[in-house]
């Protein structure tokens, strides 16, 4: 399977996506919903987390991927941009770094970057969004678990279900089996184990046009099934709603689920989830150093609304902290039901 970009698909054009998201009349806009619940304009609370997208290159081509990542994507962050990130992290006391992609580990500067973040402070929380299969994709990645451990990295990994059929239908043939192998390697060195400080969290997202289950109940089910069937341990399960952009949007349209899914997201709008959206505590950095309110806005090329501080090289902490967050119809994905963020449910 190729990325939308490699297929020259119209949905690989962010303006086309935005026009499409704005065109059907669902009777209410996200801005109106925020207004009704006194949250407009949406403002940051503080900047605690910097989420860095290290590039769109990935060994997988998942059907729902909002990054449109894959082996055919060549956009990756350079060391120069990483150096600028390090300066901002150090000078602005960023507490949490969330490294994502694509597969961030495929960036040749990944290890250099992680070690340098760690050397700024032992207290910074470093999260790597590891797709698990990368660990087995090439012998040069086999020691990633040890590297994570040495740098006290928190590992967050997607596993859409505790069975092969549902996982593989979303993430590709054979992904489940390799993911289980990789989880075992992580468990073997202490990740996700009781009385260990090495954190391994899993991410569940629905494999289709429906909302995720309640986080606590599903976590219990995952723990029971992964333990009894595969002897796998992990810390927490994050339930994430699929945001209707990029490849998931393409799926929704192709399967004629787009309108029904949007209606469901809109009718499930939850003001508590809206008050807790992750963009209120996060800044997202693109592979080329541009700044966004979140990884979704990044993929829609909706840059932060601070003309004086749109790139990591022009970081202006107070301007960013006082910015208005750019919102659109896709934001309903963060506010439906129990809410959704990179850390799971929010309400």
């Amino acid at each position: 399977m190729k990325s939308l970009k490699a297929q020259n698909h119209p949905l690989s054009n962010s303006q086309y996506e935005i026009d499409l998201l704005e065109s059907p009349d669902f009777g209410v806009s996200f801005v109106q919903k925020l207004e009704e619940t006194n949250l407009f304009p949406l403002k940051p609370v503080q900047i605690e987390t910097m989420q860095i997208n290290m590039g769109k290159m990935c060994n997988q081509v998942c059907k729902h991927c909002h990054v449109d990542a894959g082996p055919d994507r060549k956009e990756i962050m350079t060391r120069d941009i990483m150096e600028q990130c390090l300066a901002v992290i150090e000078n602005n006391h960023i507490k949490s770094l969330d490294l994502t992609g694509g597969a961030p580990e495929m960036n040749p500067e990944f290890r250099w970057f992680v070690s340098n973040i760690r050397s700024i402070s032992p207290d910074i929380n470093i999260i790597v969004r590891c797709n698990l299969t990368i660990i087995l994709a090439n012998p040069k990645y086999r020691d990633l678990p040890e590297f994570f451990k040495a740098n006290q990295v928190e590992v967050v990994s997607s596993l859409p279900y505790f069975s092969a059929a549902k996982t593989d239908s979303q993430r590709g043939d054979g992904v489940f089996e390799k993911s289980i192998q990789a989880l075992r390697m992580l468990n073997d060195i202490g990740y996700g184990m009781e009385n260990s400080d090495l954190i391994l969290n899993l991410v569940y997202n629905p494999s289709g046009a429906f909302l995720p289950a309640a986080q606590a109940g599903l976590e219990a089910e995952f723990k029971k099934k992964l333990k009894s069937n595969f002897n796998i341990n992990f810390n927490s399960l994050f339930t994430i709603t699929n945001v209707p952009i990029s490849r998931f949007l393409e799926y929704l349209i192709r399967s004629e689920n787009y309108e029904g899914y949007m209606e469901k997201l809109i009718e499930s709008y939850n003001p508590t989830a809206a008050a807790n959206v992750m963009c209120r505590t996060t800044i997202s950095v693109g592979w080329d150093g541009y700044l966004y309110d979140c990884d979704f806005n990044q993929m829609l090329d909706l840059k932060v609304e601070t003309p004086q501080s749109q790139h990591i090289s022009d970081w202006n902490h107070s301007a960013l902290k006082n910015r208005n967050i750019v919102v659109n119809q896709h934001c309903f994905g963060c506010t439906a039901g129990a809410g959704s963020s990179c850390g799971g449910a929010t309400a």
């Binding site: 629905p206 429906f210 289950a213 109940g217």
Partner: protein, 110 residues
């Protein structure tokens, strides 16, 4: 094409109070309470509802509880096992009545 069942009508279920509000309100309050987490989890209740939907063969309920069980994190295998429970009870309910037939046969036979 006109049909008796229209998927769009499922969305109108909440509006049945238009013709009789107090009873509809009581029903929906009760309905909401029934499906809350209790001695049974909301997920278990959803699977029971899916099985019952098949037993009573209500297309609206099958639609609604297929979505609901998926949103409770159930997979196809679990959902199909729930339907087999309904089928087993329905089949069993027919078959267990064969004891009456057998009784009658024996009553009438030499």
């Amino acid at each position: 094409m006109k049909t008796y069942y229209n998927p769009e009508d499922l969305k109108k279920f909440g509006k049945i109070g238009e013709f009789q509000k107090p009873l509809a309100d009581k029903f929906f309050d009760y309905y909401g309470e029934v499906f809350k987490e209790g001695a049974l989890t909301a997920r278990e209740k959803s699977l029971i509802a899916l099985a019952v939907a098949h037993a009573i063969q209500c297309p609206y309920c099958i639609d609604a509880y297929t979505v609901d069980t998926m949103e409770k994190g159930c997979d196809e295998e679990q959902m199909m096992e729930a339907v087999h429970v309904a089928a087993a009870i329905r089949g069993g309910a027919s078959l267990v009545h064969s004891t009456q037939m057998m009784n009658k046969v024996k009553e009438l036979s030499m």
